[in-house]
Amino acid sequence: MKIARRRVEPIKETQMVSLADIAFLIIFFFMLTSTFMRDKLSVILPQLSVTSKTESAITVIMDREARIYLNGHPVGSAGALKTELRGLLAGRTTPRELEVRLRCDKRLTFRDYRNVYEAISHAGGIIAIMHDVKK
C-alpha cells in the first residue's frame, strides 16, 4: 500500500510571540536591577585614586549647604541622624553590613562634617567616603 507522505512546509513566519517574550524579560531585568537615581542630590565629591567598591545600602549625603540627608530624606540634625542610623544598623555585624556611604560635598569644612563623622561612628557604622576617581 502506498502511503502518501505529508509534505512538511517550511515555516515562513518569524516567531514574533517568542521575540516579544524575550524582549519583555529583558525589560523586567532592567526594571528590577535599576536603582533610579537614589543619589539624585547633586554633590561634588572629592577626587581620589581608585579605592575599593562599595555596595552599602545606607547613604548619608551632605550638600553644599551642609544639609544632611539619609537615604534621600532630609534629616534635621546630626543627633537625629545618629538615632536613625542606630535603628538601621541594628543587627548588622560584618564590616560590609556596617558600611555607611558618605557623599559629602568636597568644599565643606571640618566644622560642617565633623558632627556627621561622629554620628555615623557613634551609631556603630563604618564610614565609606564616596569619591570620584582622579583622571
Partner: protein, 143 residues
C-alpha cells in the same frame, strides 16, 4: 439565491508592533542606564578596640588644617605624607602600633581630609580621628 457568508477574521494581537515597542524600551534602558561604579574610602573611626584614648605608647599624630600639615610636629607637604608615614609605620604590626591620630582644624576641607585619610591608609596606618580640635592656639604655623 444563496448568499455566501463573509469570512470573519478571528481575534488577532499584533505581536510585531508589541515586539517593536518592547525593543524601544530596551534601547531606552540601555542608553539611560549609567552603570555606575561606586568607589569609597572606608574609614573605621575609633571603636571600642582601638581609640585615641586606648592607644598604648605614642601614636603618630597628624595635625591638619587647610594650609598646614604636620606629622609628629614636623611640617610635611601633602604629596609626601604617604612616604613619610610609610617610613614611620615600617615594622608596625598590631593595630595599636599602626594607629595614626588625626587632629583636624575647623577649616579643613573635605577634599583635603579625604586626601590625608587616603595617604594614611595607603601607608598602612589606621585612622583615628581625635575629638581634640586644632585651634589657633595649638595650630602649627602654616607653610
Amino acid at each position: 439565491m444563496k448568499v455566501s457568508r463573509r469570512h470573519r477574521p478571528g481575534p488577532y494581537i499584533p505581536f510585531i508592533t508589541l515586539a517593536d515597542i518592547a525593543w524601544q524600551i530596551i534601547i531606552f534602558f540601555l542608553i539611560a542606564s549609567t552603570f555606575a561604579h561606586h568607589y569609597a574610602l572606608t574609614v573605621a573611626l575609633p571603636t571600642a578596640s582601638v581609640s585615641p584614648e586606648k592607644v598604648v605608647g605614642t601614636p603618630i599624630r597628624v595635625e591638619a588644617s587647610e594650609t598646614s600639615l604636620t606629622v609628629n610636629g614636623m611640617h610635611v607637604p601633602l604629596a609626601d605624607l604617604e612616604l613619610q608615614l610609610a617610613g614611620l609605620l615600617s615594622g608596625a604590626v598590631s593595630e595599636e602600633q599602626r594607629a595614626v591620630v588625626v587632629v583636624a582644624s575647623d577649616d579643613l576641607s573635605f577634599q583635603r581630609n579625604a586626601d590625608i585619610l587616603y595617604a594614611i591608609q595607603q601607608a598602612g596606618g589606621i585612622v583615628l580621628i581625635s575629638e581634640e580640635r586644632l585651634t589657633d592656639e595649638n595650630r602649627p604655623s602654616s607653610r
